[in-house]
């Protein structure tokens, strides 16, 4: 199966260093303290944040900082073969590494004994859902007003037909040679999430990292744009909201 044609174009017409179309919307849910929706190629992802709120069960409370918990979940019909509801081993691992990545950027020491809960639901999946989910989650955290060092853009780089390629689709992932999801802090360039499986030489790895950084910068802009749009809208709505204020604390 040939995934890149003689003109260097991929099955969906993209160049090797081109992202799929990405749309980010902040503040899409009423009940959550913060939320974001991301459409990324054929991925559809929604993220919600609750907290800082009282941490249950209590024995998990940390007197020095907030606990950051994450649940990444694929809904039953987000993939071609129906996924039985409930966490599988893959989603447990992804939840763990996303929580670890987010904890670093949140000023958790401001909110001792609380928990900050991040929920990521994959409504439609087409490769790259952990990166789309993490991208959405940091926007949702900002939407919830949780103080952070920076937003966290994420993207997967891969290897297909012996070429290093940005942002694999499901087809490319299935028939490709390597997958390397990564997330960074744009302001400092630090790497927060990195996994790899497949086969890459060190040279290919170095090239992949470069591609990933450039893409993360673009995604970072989209994240900021989404929050700016949300903020602009909010100013208009503020008066109305003030009439019947409702906070999560009241629930």
């Amino acid at each position: 199966m040939r995934l890149i044609d003689e003109n260097g174009l991929r099955i969906d017409g993209r160049k090797v260093d081109e992202l799929r179309p990405i749309r980010i919307e902040a503040g899409v849910l009423k009940r959550a303290d913060g939320s974001a929706y991301v459409e990324w190629g054929k991925n559809k992802v929604i993220a919600a944040v609750y907290g800082p709120r009282e941490c249950h069960p209590r024995h998990l409370q940390d007197p020095s900082k907030a606990l950051v918990q994450c649940r990444y979940n694929m809904i039953a019909f987000s993939v071609m073969e129906r996924k039985r509801p409930g966490p599988d081993r893959r989603s447990v691992e992804i939840s763990k590494i996303i929580a670890e990545a987010l904890e670093y950027v949140i000023f958790t020491e401001y909110f001792p004994r609380t928990s900050i809960d991040v929920y990521i639901e994959i409504l439609q999946a087409n490769a790259g859902t952990r990166c789309a989910g993490l991208t959405a989650a940091s926007v949702a955290l900002a939407d919830a007003g949780v103080p952070m060092k920076d937003l966290v853009p994420a993207v997967a780089v891969g290897k297909v037909d012996n070429q290093v390629v940005l942002d694999l689709t499901k087809e490319e992932d299935n028939h490709g040679q390597a997958d390397l999801p990564m997330a960074i802090i744009p302001r400092t360039g630090e790497v927060l999430l990195m996994q790899m499986d497949g086969h890459m030489t060190v040279e290919e790895f170095n090239k992949a990292i470069d591609l990933g950084y450039k893409a993360c910068e673009k995604i970072y802009q989209l994240q900021k744009d989404a929050l700016r749009r949300r903020y602009a809208v909010e100013e208009i709505e503020t008066f109305e909201e003030a009439q019947h204020p409702q906070t999560a604390m009241e629930e």
């Binding site: 609750y50 509801p85 409930g86």
Partner: protein, 257 residues
């Protein structure tokens, strides 16, 4: 939901307005919130619908698989309905397997679809006793502001109506539309201090004494009912809700039909 507590101020507000025949959001007692239905939301599903009922947001998807029929219905397809109250949708929803609220929701939606014979399960038999289509209806609540029963039921009906059975993918001939025989509709009302309110918001549900869901078919006949919450209804209240369900069911049906 046991742990959800409401400020006394908000409760009083609802009660005081009701005493004057009014609802917090200005609706009539028999008025639904604004409804939007987006079918085919999820491409990976054989059918799907995202329903917004005011601020309540529900995504329903249908997946079709082949499998073995139940021994007592060897020539019928299988309907399996599941509901997930994911913690994304509310601070009172907890991770984990479906609790009693999710199970009741799934079973009430399932009964409405099953008892109205909406789906022609006979047409979903491939080889009697051996292989039939299994129709999974999965309900995901994304944002919870009351009346999950009607939002989910509307989503399920719309998703099923849009479902294409992927027969070719399974080597079972050409794809075909899921055979639908009718469009049942469910209408839910609550009783608060003897007032009846249709399509309750979350705040209204919290102060309500009793809830009744009535599912009717195109003839106005009753196909399923479920009383809930820790209070009572009079027979007259039940009859009023049935009548209202027949009437509003017709309006709702137009949204899907």
């Amino acid at each position: 939901m046991a742990r959800s507590v409401m400020s006394e101020i908000k409760k009083d507000h609802i009660h005081r307005l009701l005493a004057r025949g009014k609802r917090v959001d200005g609706r009539n007692w028999d008025e639904f919130r604004e409804i939007t239905i987006q079918t085919n939301f999820t491409e990976t599903a054989e059918g799907s619908a995202r329903v917004k009922l005011g601020n309540t947001d529900v995504l329903v998807g249908v997946k079709m698989e082949t499998g073995i029929p139940f021994p007592d219905t060897p020539d019928k397809g299988v309907l399996a309905t599941n509901a997930e109250l994911i913690p994304l949708a509310s601070p009172t929803f907890e991770p984990g397997p479906p609790d009693e609220n999710a199970i009741e929701l799934a079973r009430v939606v399932d009964r409405g679809i099953r008892e109205s014979e909406m789906i022609d399960l006979d047409a979903l038999c491939i080889v009697p006793n051996e292989e039939v289509w299994i129709c999974f209806v999965d309900i995901y609540v994304l944002d919870y502001d009351g009346n999950l029963f009607d939002a989910s039921f509307l989503g399920a009906v719309a998703a099923l109506k849009s479902t294409i059975v992927p027969a070719s993918r399974y080597g079972k001939g050409e794809d075909f539309k899921l055979p639908i025989r009718c469009l049942p509709m469910s209408v839910t009302a609550v009783q608060i201090e003897n007032s009846i309110l249709v399509d309750p918001t979350l705040d209204e549900e919290k102060v309500a004494a009793a809830r009744l869901t009535v599912t009717t078919d195109e003839n106005g006949d009753i196909r399923a009912m479920q009383k809930g919450l820790k209070g009572s209804l009079t027979v007259d209240q039940i009859k009023k809700i049935i009548e209202t369900s027949q009437r509003l069911g017709k309006e709702l049906r137009k949204l899907v039909g």
